[in-house]
């Protein structure tokens, strides 16, 4: 068995593809489902560029075999709302854009789970997404702007 049929609920749509057994979730998303927004930064779970939401939790998709995601809900950066993108852009969240999709996904999860910040600071929370361009201030102010918005709406 070198290939198998992988079924995902990918960005709200049920999809199935035949993919190599050795594929990571990252490979499946990029090469088989054609969603290249998710980036590979290090391949070892250090940088967070490949962050996606798997069953509603942020994971490094380079550390998940595609097989492990069988039947699961997967959300990728491609499903981000334009309003979220616009807010992040205004504060300088993205420079080169390679770590950015991972940051967007971690930030989206935080907006849905803001009580997480009772246990840790935003800086600590974001430490799984390494960025080489911004020094993080632009990233953090972008996320704060999103959180303020969420709070305003709820």
């Amino acid at each position: 068995m070198s290939h198998f049929d992988l079924t995902l609920e990918l960005n709200g749509k049920k999809v199935t593809r035949k993919i190599p057994l050795r594929s990571r979730l990252l490979d499946a998303l990029r090469y088989d489902f054609g969603l290249t927004g998710t980036k590979e930064g290090c391949g070892e779970g250090e940088c967070g560029a490949c962050t996606v939401l798997l069953s509603g939790r942020p994971v490094n998709s380079c550390l998940v075999l595609a097989r492990q995601a069988e039947g699961c809900k997967v959300e990728t950066v491609e499903s981000t709302s334009t309003e979220t993108l616009r807010r992040l852009n205004a504060t300088g969240t993205s420079q080169c854009g390679a770590c950015t999709p991972g940051i967007v996904m971690t930030a989206r999860w935080l907006c849905d789970n803001p009580q997480t910040l009772d246990l840790m600071s935003l800086r600590e929370f974001m430490s799984g997404n390494l960025c080489r361009c911004t020094g993080y201030d632009g990233v953090l102010s972008g996320i704060e702007c999103l959180l303020d918005q969420e709070e305003g709406e709820s």
Binding site: G37, G92, L130, C131, R132
Partner: protein, 733 residues
């Protein structure tokens, strides 16, 4: 104004297609077989018999149609080693296969047999005869800058203070690794990928293939970070991909994975800088002797120009009439060191700015006060004789920085805190420095950069340059400059992605030159366009400009309304490459950075608790982008200072994984507080100067000076990892 990044939404949404995101039908995957030793003669290449090699494409040096070199300043670096290797991981052979996992199997199944020769790893050691591999002394470049008569001053000086300072290498860790795709399109070899300098690649391809420029087309993909790491190295990947594609007759994609990228690509030059300084009892600097040594690695690459910038920043922003700066870049059997944001200046500025604190301590003076007594004033001259005339008051800049950082209050509080706390120590440190913007010396004159500004029939304007956006915001800033010049919405300005078949050669995207030098040409080009469209009532702008443009095209259908602008050396700017005298840079950016630190004597970890970055960069064009440049540069500088250690084994990076080479995360930083002074400069558009590299110069000296303040110590080397600090303190409580 701050125009939102024009490519920002595509990057945030993941739409921007980096080279590895591109799918090319029929594409093969390419990979590189490398030298397993640091130096030797290639004996034989063994192909495992367990692998069926018939469906692999295999390229070696004999497949290179032209000169086997990665053309740059000199011709010494082969594209593929033929007989000898000079560093670990040197490319020897290329493979391509349609399946990535078969390619990996192939790469695992080839062994290069080498008759090893003794390698040279210690750049400070005098090379023995058998270690000589470049000229008569392994020296790639030697530079002397002389001013006045330092020898006679030293002979009479009552107080001479010496110090030796060392800095380690640094890996760029752009989040997108190196990659290229090459394919044949009719008679043309097309290469696209991650690069800062499309025309460098074009030049390198014409020489390696011995074919005219017209036979190549080099296209830049969105770039996931560069920092200098994609200045010269991408030429290697481009030649390799092109060689494979030509032999295969099919497209070939080479993408380095993170481990390969970190192990084999260029890094910041390690340095050793010695200072001898004569001072009087008031702390006035009388004479300086500075001796600089850079480890260049195995081939010349850019070391001569990195050394040049290093020597030109070595004196720091201080007045001194008697100076001798001597610099050398020398060979070792490490992979070549290369361009990295700051380009030699962070190394020599670390040395002088630490040395200033060493002098202050020796004299019992406050380090801020010592600086104030020696900082350059308008009209003073640098070591090259260049007159300082940017209009900045450096003593005021430093005073404002100290005020913003609350230095005087902190100094008192920390003294009390340090006496009472069992294991925490606090300190504050500063660095004052400058960074020359644009190419060094007559570099810009030689480059003769050209840009095109086109007025389109629909009333929009199109900009054509070779400037790449690696995250710093080229596309946004050029659009903004044109928009402001013409008083039109910058979002209506089209900035063409660099493609050597479409854009003129406006020079490389390096040296903090894009906004200032190329931006100025764009500004001039836009003004020229306004003059052309002037119907007698003055140069049109805003809606009038767009109307005039549309009218022009109605009256002249099919006209290509294109303005070309080329760099002209400003009158009165002179540079002598031989004597190193004259105007080394068109202008300088100036800064005072201040760091507060807390050292934990249980773990020897240093935490930067506050960082103030105050700089004068001319007019700030785009506040959000400018702050992003400063904050990112400071974070990268902090990493170089405290966290990032390139551990070498056989001359090459051993810890070539992101989990073992530690770049700062969000939790390692406190907010980086950014402040600007704005004195409009005649050198750049709307009064702007270069900004990109400046912030990397400050963190190392500011942070280490703060650590030394906290511990009453004199540390002279970075990176200052906890392990290094522990050994330095020698178990002192």
């Amino acid at each position: 104004m701050s125009l939102d990044r024009v490519d920002g939404l595509d990057k945030l949404s993941g739409k921007s297609a980096f080279v590895d995101d591109l799918t090319v039908p029929g594409c093969l995957f390419g990979g590189t077989i490398r030298s397993p030793v640091a130096r030797g003669r290639i004996r034989k290449i063994h192909f495992s018999t367990a692998v069926d090699w018939s469906d692999f494409v295999i390229v070696d040096h004999r497949d290179i149609p032209g000169s086997n070199e990665v053309a740059l300043i000199e011709s010494d670096q082969p594209a593929l080693a033929s007989t000898n290797v000079r560093h670990l991981h040197e490319p020897v052979l290329l493979l391509a296969h349609s399946k990535l996992h078969r390619l990996r199997e192939g790469l695992r199944s080839i062994r290069v047999e080498i008759e090893a020769a003794p390698p040279l790893f210690d750049v400070e050691a005098q090379p023995t005869k058998e270690m000589l591999q470049h000229g008569s002394d392994n020296v790639f470049k030697r530079i002397d800058i002389r001013k006045g008569d330092p020898a006679s001053v030293f002979a009479k000086a009552s107080r001479v203070i010496e110090g030796t300072y060392r800095t380690g290498s640094q890996e760029h860790v752009y989040l997108e690794t190196q990659g290229m795709i090459a394919h044949q399109e009719g008679e043309t070899l097309v290469v696209r990928g991650s690069m800062q300098c499309p025309y460098y690649i074009l030049d390198a391809l014409t020489i390696a293939f011995d074919r005219p420029k017209e036979r190549f087309r080099v296209i830049q993909c969105p770039l996931g970070g560069g920092f200098g790491g994609k200045e010269e190295y991408p030429s290697v990947v481009a030649i390799h991909a092109a060689l494979l594609a030509e032999k295969a007759g099919r497209p070939v994609k080479i993408i380095y994975d993170r481990q390969e990228d970190m192990a084999v690509t260029t890094k910041r030059h390690p340095s050793r800088v010695r200072h001898r300084t004569a001072v009087d009892d008031d702390g006035i600097i009388l004479a300086m002797e500075i001796d600089i040594l850079f480890d260049g690695g195995a081939y010349v690459t850019l070391s001569p120009v990195v050394l040049s910038r290093g020597t030109l920043h070595a004196t720091g922003p201080y007045r001194c009439d008697h100076v001798h700066v001597h610099g050398e870049a020398k060979l070792t059997n490490s992979p070549p060191y290369g361009a990295f944001r700051g380009f030699g200046a962070p190394q020599t500025l670390f040395a002088i700015e630490r040395h200033m604190d060493v002098i202050a301590r020796d004299l019992g003076l406050d380090p801020g006060e010592l600086r104030r007594r020696n900082l350059l004033c308008q009209g003073d001259t640098l070591a090259t004789g260049q007159k300082v005339q940017d209009g900045v008051d450096l003593t005021a800049l430093l005073a404002r920085g100290e005020e913003l950082a609350g230095v005087s209050l902190a100094t008192q509080e920390y003294a009390a805190f340090n006496r009472s706390h069992p294991y925490l120590r606090r300190g504050v440190g500063r660095a004052t420095f400058y960074h020359g913007a644009g190419f060094t010396g007559s570099g810009e004159t030689h480059l003769a950069s050209e840009v095109w500004v086109e007025g389109l029939a629909d009333g929009r304007v199109r900009l054509l340059t070779a400037q790449t956006d690696m995250g710093q915001g080229t596309m946004t800033i050029l659009a903004q400059i044109a928009g402001e010049t013409l008083s039109v919405d910058p979002r209506s300005i089209e900035v063409v992605t660099p493609d050597t078949s479409l854009v003129p050669n406006s020079g490389p995207t390096v040296a903090s030159r894009t906004a200032m030098v190329v931006g100025k040409l764009i500004e001039d080009g836009c003004r020229e366009l306004q003059r052309i469209l002037d119907s007698g009532s003055g140069p049109p702008s805003g809606k009038d400009f767009q109307n005039a443009l549309e009218l022009h095209h109605r009256e002249n259908p099919g006209d290509l309304l294109r303005v070309s602008r080329s760099y002209q050396t400003p009158p009165g700017q002179n540079w002598d490459e031989v004597s190193y005298q004259g105007d080394a840079y068109a202008c300088y950016s100036w800064a005072a950075h201040l760091a507060h630190v807390e050292v934990d004597l249980r773990t020897f970890q240093v935490r930067v608790t506050d960082y103030v970055a105050l700089q004068e960069v001319g007019r700030v064009l785009n506040e959000v982008l400018a702050r992003g440049q400063i904050q990112g540069g400071v974070a990268q500088g902090l990493g170089w200072t405290l966290l990032e250690e390139v551990i070498l084994e056989n001359g090459a990076m051993k810890n070539h994984q992101m989990m073992n080479y530690i770049i700062p995360g969000s939790g390692d930083l406190s907010p980086i507080r950014v402040f600007f002074e704005e004195i409009p400069s005649p050198s750049g558009p709307g009064g702007a100067k270069g900004i990109g590299e400046l912030p990397l110069d400050g963190p190392a000296p500011a942070i280490i000076n703060a650590v030394c303040h906290a511990l009453s110590a004199s540390i002279r080397e970075i990176p200052l990892t906890p392990e290094v600090l522990m050994e330095f303190l020698g178990g002192k409580e």
